[in-house]
Every structure is written in structure tokens, then in C-alpha cells.
């Protein structure tokens, strides 16, 4: 039972409660850094590290932190992890850090992270909180990666910097510019909402058929 619950917390972040496609959180990094797949992965990994680390600490110390100062404590914890991620990226992969620029420090302001601390990590045991954070962060990473891949393929004719179509491909430049982010995200959200409507319709049909059958 316990095992099933932690699995459930993990899966829900990837699909049912996907932070980007369902909760529509973290839009600022989502739109800003998904102009190539590699940037998307770097931002996704940094967010993963910050979210899992913060959720672990917040959940571990949830009985110690008085509720009057909880938001300040969450922000201190998150900001520390963000600074660690910032310097580590700068030392290890300076080229990627240059591309992401100001958006690494801005992870602090990603409402997805503070939202998970307030809504989940500060209320549940450490193990569940870490599973929840890992699920949400993976969902965020996958969303960034799908947006980044689509935009890089259409806007640059490449994926992970590897040319896909050869010389004759005319890149659809707008896709790697800011408007391309909005266009791609809009189309994906459209798909998710259409899928949800279809699913509800289907469930209603099934229920109606069952009623009719009886």
C-alpha cells in the first residue's frame, strides 16, 4: 500500500498533474529557454536538483519550522540550492550556462517549486515528498524537452545540435524566437485539452451505455 502510494505520487507529476501541461506553472523558463533541446535539458536538470533537494529538506524539517515563517524558510532553502546549481553549471558547462544566462538564478522564482513546498512537502513524510518532487520535476523536464525538441527541429533543422535535414532545409526561424515558444505551447495545450474532453466524453458514453444496458 505504502509503495503504491509513493509510485502514485511519482506518476501523477509526469502525466495527470503535469506541472506545465495541466497545472500551467513555471511558464517563464518554459518559454524562455526551450529554443534548443540541450538548453531545455540543462534547465530541466537544474530544476530537478533544486526541487528534489528543497522538498527533501522542507519535508524533513516540517515539524521544526514554525508556520509563521515557513515561506521565508522555503525561499532560503530554495535559493541556496539554486546558487549551488548556478555555480556548478558555471564551472562544469560554461557554454550552457552562458546560453541560459539569467534564467538559472530565476529558478528561485519558479512558482512550481515554491508551490510544491507549500502544497505537498510541508505536509507529508519525507519519502512521499521526495517522490512527489521527483515526479513533478520529471514532468517539468519532459515538458521542456518536448517543447525544446519541437522548436529546435522546426527552427534550426537540428536536434541536440545534430543536423537532421541537410542543406536544403529552410529553417522556420520564428520557432526559435520567443513567439515560437508561445505557438508551440499553445498547440500542445490545445492537444491536452482536446484529449481531456474526448476522455470525459468517452467516460460519459460508457456510463450511459451501462445505464441503458441495465
Amino acid at each position: 500500500m505504502k509503495k503504491n502510494q509513493s509510485q502514485e505520487e511519482f506518476i501523477k507529476g509526469i502525466w495527470r498533474d503535469n506541472p506545465v501541461f495541466v497545472q500551467v506553472l513555471g511558464m517563464c523558463p518554459m518559454l524562455a529557454v526551450t529554443n534548443s533541446a540541450i538548453n531545455a535539458i540543462a534547465m530541466g536538470m537544474a530544476t530537478f536538483f533544486v526541487l528534489v533537494g528543497s522538498s527533501f529538506l522542507v519535508s524533513t524539517f516540517r515539524h521544526v519550522i514554525p508556520k509563521q515563517v515557513r515561506i521565508s524558510c522555503f525561499i532560503i532553502i530554495i535559493a541556496t540550492f539554486v546558487t549551488i546549481a548556478d555555480y556548478t553549471l558555471l564551472a562544469l558547462v560554461p557554454a550552457v550556462h552562458k546560453e541560459l544566462g539569467a534564467f538559472i538564478p530565476l529558478i528561485v522564482a519558479n512558482c512550481l517549486i515554491l508551490g510544491r513546498q507549500e502544497a505537498f512537502a510541508s505536509r507529508y513524510p519525507t519519502k512521499l515528498a521526495v517522490m512527489d518532487a521527483m515526479g513533478m520535476a520529471s514532468g517539468f523536464l519532459l515538458a521542456l524537452l518536448s517543447l525544446g525538441s519541437i522548436r529546435e527541429i522546426l527552427g534550426d533543422g537540428a536536434l541536440f545540435g545534430i543536423n537532421l535535414f541537410g542543406e536544403n532545409f529552410e529553417p522556420w526561424v520564428i520557432m526559435i524566437l520567443p513567439p515560437g515558444g508561445f505557438l508551440t505551447l499553445g498547440v500542445i495545450l490545445l492537444f491536452f485539452n482536446w484529449f481531456k474532453l474526448k476522455k470525459d466524453e468517452f467516460l460519459e458514453d460508457v456510463a450511459a451505455a451501462e445505464r441503458g444496458g441495465n
Partner: protein
């Protein structure tokens, strides 16, 4: 758990202590990561700069930082912060070849920082490398992705100053073909070089009396490519 029914209020001392401890631990963690990554970050930056200097000055294998102090260009090991600096490039025999000049100015979106190689004897620019730019991907970023444009800086006269002209109409040694679709970015690069050249031209010594090589920084094994 912070249940919403919990109405008892902890003492102010406890609130202050909690925040103080959190801040202290956080500060120690940040100092730790800063100290442990600083050497790598500094080394990365120095290596990038060296690679750029050797790229914009063909034939150079040693370099030193030069600053303008008391009416003279002198070699320094470590320039002061915010002090304008140029890099002198020297060949195998420690003969002066040219200057690598860092320059920066507004581009189409944000500041463009470049490094260009300048040979004072011939009064020509011999190479240009963009160090930092946030120009539009696919258009303005051609200032460093378009090999033709970058190659145009390999023998460009600065007399009286550089002009960016419409692509394919270059006829004078001080003209360079602008990039179609990125006219503003190309002109920005040219303007940055012109302004920097004007700022420095009075401070550079007459050709032939450049500072001798003192504290040489060689290419090193990692910058061989």
C-alpha cells in the same frame, strides 16, 4: 505538521532563531560552493580569453596584458578591475605582432562584446571574435556564425574608419559586406570597432616601440586547437 487548526503562536525568539539558523546554514553552503568552484571558473575564463586572442591574431604564440598608465602602455600581470586593457600578441621569437583589443557596445538586443586583432604597422584589423552577444537567433547571431562575415575582418583597413556596405558591394580596403537580414548587428560590430579604435589610437605607442614581452602567457597544451 503545520495543521491549520494549530492556533498557538510560537515565541518571537523562536521565529527569529529559526530564520537566523536557516540563513547561517545557507550562507555557509553558498560560501562552500563558491570557494570550491572559483578556481575552475577563473581557469575557464582565462582559457577562453587566451584562445580568443590567439584566434584573432594569426601567427601569435605568446601574449601579455597591457594597460595605459602615466602616458605609456605598460605590461602588467594582473590588470586592476575596470581598468581598460589590451593584449599584446608576440610570435615565437618574442617579436611584437599586434594587439588583441576587447571592445563592447550596444547591439540590436543587448551589449555585444568582441575581441579584435589589430596590427598597428599596417593599420589593419586582422581578426574578430564575438565573446558575448544576445543577438536574434537565426538573424543577428550571424555576426559570429556567418563565416563570410567573420572572414571579412581578416584584412580590413581602419583608415579613416570601417564602413559596413550592402552585401557584395565592397570595393575599398576599409569596407566590409554587411549581413543581409542582420544589418543592425553587422553595423553594430563595425561601430564598436571604430569607437574602440578611436579611443585607443592616441594611447597606443608609435609602431615599432611597443612594450617588450615580459610576463608571457603561452598557448599552453589546452589551447592548441
Amino acid at each position: 505538521m503545520n495543521a491549520p487548526t494549530d492556533t498557538s503562536s510560537p515565541s518571537s525568539l523562536r521565529l527569529v532563531l529559526t530564520l537566523a539558523i536557516a540563513g547561517l546554514v545557507s550562507g555557509i553552503a553558498i560560501i562552500g560552493i563558491y570557494e570550491s568552484t572559483l578556481p575552475t571558473i577563473t581557469a575557464n575564463k582565462a582559457r577562453e580569453l587566451r584562445a580568443a586572442v590567439f584566434k584573432v591574431l594569426p601567427g601569435v604564440s605568446q601574449m601579455q596584458a597591457l594597460v595605459y598608465r602615466d602616458g605609456d602602455l605598460v605590461a602588467v600581470e594582473k590588470p586592476d578591475k575596470d581598468e581598460p586593457v589590451v593584449y599584446g600578441g608576440y610570435d615565437e621569437q618574442s617579436e611584437f605582432v599586434g594587439y588583441a583589443m576587447p571592445a563592447a557596445g550596444p547591439g540590436f538586443q543587448d551589449t555585444i562584446a568582441i575581441l579584435y586583432g589589430y596590427k598597428p604597422r599596417e593599420k589593419i584589423v586582422v581578426g574578430m571574435e564575438v565573446l558575448e552577444s544576445r543577438e536574434t537567433p537565426g538573424l543577428g547571431d550571424k555576426i559570429y556564425k556567418d563565416a563570410e562575415f567573420v572572414g571579412g575582418f581578416s584584412a580590413l583597413s581602419v583608415e579613416p574608419e570601417i564602413y559596413a556596405v550592402k552585401k557584395g558591394t565592397k570595393s575599398q580596403p576599409n569596407e566590409i559586406d554587411a549581413i543581409t537580414g542582420a544589418t543592425i548587428s553587422s553595423k553594430a560590430v563595425v561601430r564598436i570597432i571604430n569607437e574602440t579604435h578611436a579611443d585607443w589610437s592616441a594611447q597606443l605607442p608609435t609602431p615599432g616601440s611597443e612594450p617588450q614581452l615580459e610576463a608571457a602567457e603561452t598557448a599552453g597544451p589546452e589551447a592548441e586547437q
